[in-house]
Symmetry: C2
Subunit: 446 residues, 2 copies
């Protein structure tokens, strides 16, 4: 083990101290790396301090492209949707789908539920019927002891909805949970829910120590953990688009509207029945969803975990979207659980997230769920449309090549020659670099 | 519908033109928003042009905190792991777990497979036995027709591994797929695979039109789509940590090493058996994984889709990690499919991704998979350790409060008073803002 690569007390170093240690021990050109890291800092030091505070051991910013998809008509209101994503063609696809549906009635969305969940997991070897018989009083105590925590949320119309006692798994002897449901209004609610749950755990232990109905030998409850569930199948939103098949328009290579609708439905049905296809299909949906989640300072890992578990709820991983054609009407929908906030967390702390919410005219959490679902559906529509008509490589390779040409500072004349050369070849950075070098009369070590 | 909020030809506008339209139509204070968007641009115009090129309709950068977790010992090599994540406590947790295991043998990892997959989905109503009897020749033609595409990949040791014919689903009459497997070496391989598949589709159609064994009435094959699968259960990596239970050390509130090990295993077992817990549990794993995926310019949506589908492969969504205690030895492992690249895509185009790979000493894709898996396992260890000992709210709220205090430019004296006031209360931005205003003798409209 190279001792110069381990360190004690790293987090205590100043930001410059951290950078110095990193560049000196891991880079060949410490000074230029140090300059490059600093070049991504915000010019305003206070502003940068805010960004640094979001995480730990921060030495720079990783810039993600911030784009917008205009012309999103959702429930007859028009949005310009902010999207943060590093993958090319996602924003273009969402914009194209938004415009396509703008003249065909737009997106219609609906909130199907707003319930969030959390658990206190515990192990207890006593007679569960005794616990059940005392559960009304336990619940009363848990609600009373969290009044300080829930007061503000209740004033906003939310709070604890219910608490039940549930066996966690027959496989783990004595494992139970206090399963609590919550309404957290415009916040995602993680801090609120976790604070309630940790108090539940304390109060529950206390109850068990003192309640007269509990046998002395069973007074000890082992709390394993108290934590919200990111699985929120009842915090659910639906988005759909629909129009007469005849009005779908014409498609490349002479494909008719009827032919398109039929093949589109086939593609969706394949994603419903084949998990290997469903994963890629849903990944496309999340391309749109995560871009808005990121732009508004929400947590995409929570959204992803929940959405994919929901996609597997039947026992086989499946498509989150569905398509039908009935009486000449094309219908395409997405139903997805989305637990997001428009207050709390980073939503107002991250300066660009705050601007994203302003761009969306400061939506409620329910409205943001609907915007996100519509963007996911738009993304899915655009991706499947490409796949079943022209294929995706043509567009992808063109954009990838453009990126490489910018990177290699190709002149207009050089770019023309490269584009023509790679017309029938797979684009790669090393390939383009090599060919450009040939054009330029150089040799490169690739 | 407010017509000022829809636009035609937006993507054709210059960057300044786009920004102008957005700020004038969606913001109350157009000029200050325009200045703020510009304040996140890189000071070097060429550099910013590269960032803008990654996506479409880009108007600014969304800065994500770029941090590092030092002291990761993986297979006896020491890494300082770059992490891009907006959630507080993730980098701190990974760093703490890395240091904990550094003195207990570090992380051990192993590649279990590197196979990637892709499909040409088609619908065909002919006699499948005829197709099967001709499949050797079909395969020969597909391989021959993609030689131009596969040449470079073969030189690097990769290429097409196999192509088989498979029924997609009995639910969709006539639905089949050409299922191809690939080795894509150090690239994630999406462009390579999709280019091969689109050529397969063309060549397959051609074969069916001309081969003498195919009845004339069955010559038409409808290609639905040709696309890689992001589900790669055979592109798999394992990471584990292990040490004698006695050497786990001591934990808060007098918890012994034995008590800790037992409760840790209970917590993992709950995540194995309860999908509601598994979602949150795996979300924690992805906190670590996605942070490295992002930092190295890989695609976190692909990684998430694949990993969660893998978590549901038994028919019930479950934990990706597992724990055992046997003969006094604590063992904790993560097995996860991870399809990532260290060449191609954004890995070398994004300037900070390139630096991340340098910081990791330019790993191969296999090495990067192992680093990412170890980071995911570290994250999971740290999260579960917190949950079963002190709970997570104490740390979370402390950090969240710090962020809010920085944002509200609280002085040291004010911060002390706020921290003491919120010691037993739920921290919220509006609550802190309100209390700070009281301290400062102001009233706020919250």
């Amino acid at each position: 083990m190279n001792n110069k690569k381990t360190i004690s007390g790293f987090s205590k170093l100043s930001k410059r101290g951290k950078i110095k240690w990193i560049v000196e021990n891991f880079f060949k050109n410490p000074e230029s790396v140090m300059r490059e890291l600093a070049s991504y800092w915000h010019s305003n030091e206070d502003q940068q301090k805010i960004l640094d505070g979001f995480s730990e051991n921060t030495i720079s910013n990783f810039p993600m492209p911030y784009g917008v998809a205009p012309n999103f008509v959702i429930n007859e209101k028009t949005y310009c949707v902010p999207m943060v994503i590093e993958e090319s063609s996602v924003v273009a696809a969402a914009s194209a789908a938004a415009k396509f549906w703008m003249s065909r009635g737009g997106f219609t969305t609906e909130i199907l539920g707003m319930t969030k969940l959390g658990h206190v997991h515990f192990v207890w070897q006593g007679d569960i019927e005794i616990l059940q018989s005392r559960f009304d009083d336990i619940k009363k105590k848990l609600l009373a002891d969290t009044e300080d925590i829930t007061k503000n949320m209740q004033a906003r119309g939310g709070g604890i909805q219910d608490i039940i006692l549930k066996k966690t798994s027959d496989e783990i002897p004595g494992s139970y949970q206090l399963l609590a449901s919550f309404e957290t209004c415009d916040s995602m609610g993680a801090n609120f829910i976790n604070s309630c749950l940790e108090q539940f755990a304390k109060s529950f232990k206390q109850f068990m120590l003192t309640d007269s109905a509990i046998p002395d030998k069973d007074r000890d409850v082992e709390i394993i953990m108290s934590i919200l569930s990111n699985y929120t199948p009842e915090c659910l939103v639906k988005a759909f688009v629909s129009c007469p098949v005849d009005e779908l328009g014409n498609f490349p290579n002479g494909m008719s509207a009827q032919g398109f609708a039929k093949r589109f439905k086939d593609a969706i049905d394949i994603a419903i029945h084949d998990p290997y296809r469903a994963v890629t299909h849903n990944k496309g949906i999340f391309n749109g969803i995560d871009a808005v989640v990121l732009a508004t300072g929400n947590d995409f890992r929570a959204i992803e975990s929940c959405g994919h578990a929901y996609a597997s709820r039947s026992g086989s991983y499946s498509s989150l979207s569905a398509c039908s054609i009935k009486d000449g009407q094309f219908y395409f929908e997405l139903i997805i659980p989305l637990s997001v906030g428009t207050v709390g967390g980073l939503t107002r702390l991250h300066p660009m997230a705050k601007r994203s919410l302003e761009l969306l005219e400061n939506p409620s959490a329910e409205e943001l769920m609907q915007i996100i679902a519509a963007t996911g559906l738009a993304q899915n529509f655009a991706a499947v449309r490409s796949l079943i008509t022209t294929g995706i490589q043509q567009g992808h390779m063109k954009m990838h090549l453009q990126n490489i040409l910018i990177q290699l500072k190709a002149t207009e004349e050089e770019s023309k020659r490269v584009i023509s050369h790679f017309d029938d070849k797979v684009v790669s950075y090393s390939g383009v670099n090599q060919y450009l070098a040939e054009i330029r009369g150089l040799t490169v070590n690739s």
